[in-house]
Symmetry: C2
Subunit: 193 residues, 2 copies
């Protein structure tokens, strides 16, 4: 494959990018923005090599502890459980939560053979059992799989005497947290049950 | 800037990619497809370094002569003038043209100070004057700037005794050639005037 076709094929691995968009992107970069192509190559390489996971909350981080886990000024009594780093970022942007996070490795999906063990439930239970944690807020998506995940984790936490709450239903049912507007997220945090 | 934010910024240089899409792409690559991120980095690097321009027709090529110019079985009596490698690729996909090409460096745009000299008109006139060229097909876009480009080039060619034709108006007025369906392109080639 020649380099131009190779670039078009590689661009098609981006989510939401089909043949036409990939062609448009490749031609644009080669004709008008080769510096942009080189910057993007370097940024992809750097991110793929340097971005690991925070050993405490499992979100993306290039150091052993992410900025949030390393911030001792946050409220250690609150632990918020999300499905992905993208969902965590959405909560942070809402500016209405000052506790810590725990990022799951996805959500339970019986049809795909993904159970609580695969998403890091054991690590969550250990983290939630640490001294000082008074409440675990389950902020998984309000989809069938997200609800099932929240249900299973809530049961497990409560059976260990740990208080578990759920984001309020201000979040539109059937939607992914990552794409919800910030006001709705803020409202749902206040109304957690 | 941390590597994740750096990646999001770099992705925003792709045409049609805003903040939200860039975030979605970055999170997707880091969470589910790091191999894809590395492949894309390598493809961008390879394309930016290796893809130059054919010295004869000026389209993208990693060798001195592109595959089409190097193909001696094509019809040397026909020379088709397009605005960009993307437009040339669209014509090739229509499978209805077997001559050679000349790719301009854009189109005349008086408002932006782009005249015929800036788009490679001198090189085109030299190429069109070569022995064996019987007709130059002006396949610039059917936009105001593309029409102006075709008009100026047509005058210059005819004043040198070279036959210049224009794609037929099967191509919808106001549209970019790159996005026209292939049947329309084929029809417009047959009906060239
Ligand atoms: Zn962390
Ligand atoms: Zn060529």
């Amino acid at each position: 494959m020649n380099p131009l076709d190779g670039l078009i094929e590689a661009l098609k691995r981006l989510p939401g990018v089909g043949q036409k968009s990939a062609q448009r992107m490749a031609y644009h970069l080669l004709q008008h923005d080769r510096d942009g192509a080189r910057s993007l190559a370097a940024a992809l390489q750097a991110a793929a090599e340097q971005v690991g996971h925070c050993q405490r909350c499992h979100t993306f981080s290039e150091s052993a502890l992410c900025d949030i886990c390393a911030d001792t000024s946050r409220d250690a009594s609150l632990l918020c459980v999300v499905e992905s780093p993208a969902d965590q970022a959405a909560l942070e942007r809402s500016n209405s939560y000052k506790g810590y996070y725990f990022v799951l490795l996805g959500r339970v999906s019986p049809l795909d053979g993904v159970g609580v063990h695969q998403i890091g439930a054991a690590e969550l239970l250990a983290r939630a059992a640490e001294a000082g944690v008074a409440e675990v807020i389950l902020a998984t998506s309000f989809t069938a799989e997200g609800e099932a995940t929240a249900h299973v984790l809530g049961e497990a936490l409560r059976s260990r005497g740990i208080r578990a709450t759920r984001l309020a239903r201000g979040v539109p049912v059937g939607s992914e947290l990552e794409y919800v507007d910030l006001g709705t997220i803020a409202h749902a945090l206040v109304d957690r049950r």
